[in-house]
């Protein structure tokens, strides 16, 4: 397997690296350390610049107007785009555009016209409503939200939690149980408009990621038409599952962006900071921390690229995606932790980005499927039919 980037990939990566260092990082010096938005005029200016670079809408398929990049290039770019304070969850403050809800690429033409295309033009926003108070790691069994058939559509009752962006969205994908007897075969995905009566954002859920909140939703006799079903009746779990596997690869890469930056800062600091008459870089304790950072970063990067390579080849990649997410999220946490230690007291302050990365990276071991679930997925693939 050749994981060496092509010349074209190297050129794009260098371009994005310059963009992050020259355009994004200087703006952050004036923002609150927990900011997740740029000033509107800065955002518009940088979006225009990214469009000029031909990289707007990185995750949008070429047939819908995106640049049509492969997963390997996407991984390399994700690592670069995350190398700033807000980079873990808001790489480049969203100026590279968002793909929105990938599930809508499989929607009917009518649904695409109503939801997907306005979303890609930036006119509408959507949310992904899967996790419930009863659990998120096992959606097939945890989903208690019910959709009951009526003469002219469906009525949905239930709740969702840890849902991002629902309070600002125009519509969302809501997974509800349509056949209580069938487990994962009894879940359907509905496109729900947030202006419909019965849709409520009940509260904000504050987390370690203090720059951004999740929401808790309630559906109170929410009436939806038959045309709101995305895909087929009782086939919603497949829609959710497809996203969960594929998404793990860029999710892993995003973890590595701040970790690379933390390591770079720690290396520079170790070469400048003196203690007891000698540079930190001369201390074996510090050297070993830096070497361990290097090991973590290389292992996680190669495993993430290996998953991306399989994905690009069109061969099954579920195990590789799970391993990449697992290794990258844990390695990145360790790298940031060691880098903070090298920085000493300053590493704990809001003067530097470490504390934000440290808090936010902790979430990555739970988000997009907890690492214990990734291990379960890998074990299932390793043991196959032998696992009962």
């Amino acid at each position: 397997m050749n994981l060496e980037p092509t010349e074209e990939q190297k050129a794009i990566v260098a371009q994005v690296r310059r963009f992050v260092r020259e355009e994004i990082v200087p703006l952050e010096d004036k923002l609150d350390p927990d900011a997740s938005e740029l000033a509107p005029e800065d955002h518009a200016r940088l979006v225009a610049k990214v469009k000029g670079m031909g990289l707007y809408g990185l995750d949008i398929p070429a047939e819908f107007g995106g640049p049509g990049i492969d997963m390997t290039t996407r991984v390399l770019l994700a690592i670069e785009m995350g190398q700033h304070r807000a980079g873990l969850y808001v790489p480049c403050y969203g100026v590279f555009g968002a793909a929105g809800l990938a599930q809508l690429y499989e929607a009917t033409e009518e649904q695409k016209e109503k939801y997907l295309r306005p979303m890609l033009r930036g006119e509408k926003k959507g949310f992904f409503g899967l996790t419930e108070p009863s659990g998120g790691s096992d959606p097939a069994r945890a989903i208690k939200t019910r959709a009951v058939k009526t003469n002219d559509g469906w009525v949905i009752n239930g709740s969702k939690v840890f849902i991002s962006g629902a309070d600002k969205a125009d519509f969302g994908l809501v997974f509800a149980r349509t056949d209580p007897e069938k487990g994962r075969g009894g879940v359907t995905c509905f496109i729900v408009e947030t202006s419909w009566p019965g849709f409520h954002v009940r509260r904000i859920v504050h987390t370690l990621r203090s720059s951004h909140y999740a929401t808790e939703l309630q559906f109170d006799n929410l009436k939806v038409p038959d045309t709101a079903i995305l895909g087929e009746l009782n086939k919603g779990f497949a829609i959710a599952n497809e996203r969960l596997s594929r998404q793990r690869i860029p999710y892993a890469a995003q973890c590595l962006g701040p970790a690379y930056k933390a390591h770079e800062l720690a290396l520079d600091y170790a070469k400048q900071r003196e203690t007891f008459g000698a540079l930190l870089a001369t201390r074996q304790a510090i050297q070993w921390m830096l070497v361990d950072n290097e090991l973590d970063l290389r292992q996680a990067t190669w495993m993430t690229l290996a998953a991306a390579s399989k994905c690009d080849q069109g061969v099954p990649f579920r195990m590789e995606a799970g391993l990449a997410k697992l290794v990258a999220s844990e390695a990145a946490g360790r790298v940031v932790d060691r880098s903070m230690q090298i920085f000493g007291g300053y590493g704990m302050t809001k003067d530097f980005p470490f504390e934000r990365w440290y808090r936010e990276l902790r979430i990555r071991r739970v988000g997009e499927g907890p690492n214990e679930v990734q291990r379960h997925v890998v074990a299932r693939d390793l043991l196959g039919a032998g696992l009962k």
Binding site: D32, D34, K168, R202, I204, S210
Partner: protein, 112 residues
């Protein structure tokens, strides 16, 4: 945690403001009737945290504010947005003192 701030109001005066901590958090200012006229936060770049921010407000009180209350909160960014969204839910708009100032993009909240 209650989503609305319910602490009693404190007069916006030098002797009360100087007792505030320098921590991160959110604060509200109110007029003499106790109606909220401004929501703000003390973030990572605020000099002297809540005390510094409320001192600034005291020197030039927005919308004739005469009282304040604070909440020490590490999640000051999302809490600030939550308080603004609650005000929009309850009163149809952000507090008078926040009008015309840079605001984050606010969502819609409909608490039970």
């Amino acid at each position: 945690m209650a989503i609305r701030m319910t602490k009693p109001w404190t007069p916006l005066a030098p002797e009360t403001v100087k007792k505030l901590s320098g921590q991160l958090g959110v604060y509200q200012l109110a007029d003499s009737k106790g109606d909220v006229v401004f929501v703000g936060f003390a973030g990572g770049r605020s000099l002297f945290g809540l005390r510094g921010e409320v001192e600034k407000a005291m020197k030039d009180p927005p919308s004739a504010a005469t009282q304040f209350r604070v909440e020490v909160n590490q999640q000051y960014t999302t809490r600030y947005q939550e308080l603004l969204m609650l005000h929009v839910h309850d009163h149809g708009d952000v507090p008078a003192g926040n009008v015309g100032k840079p605001l984050p993009k606010l969502g819609r909240l409909s608490p039970a």
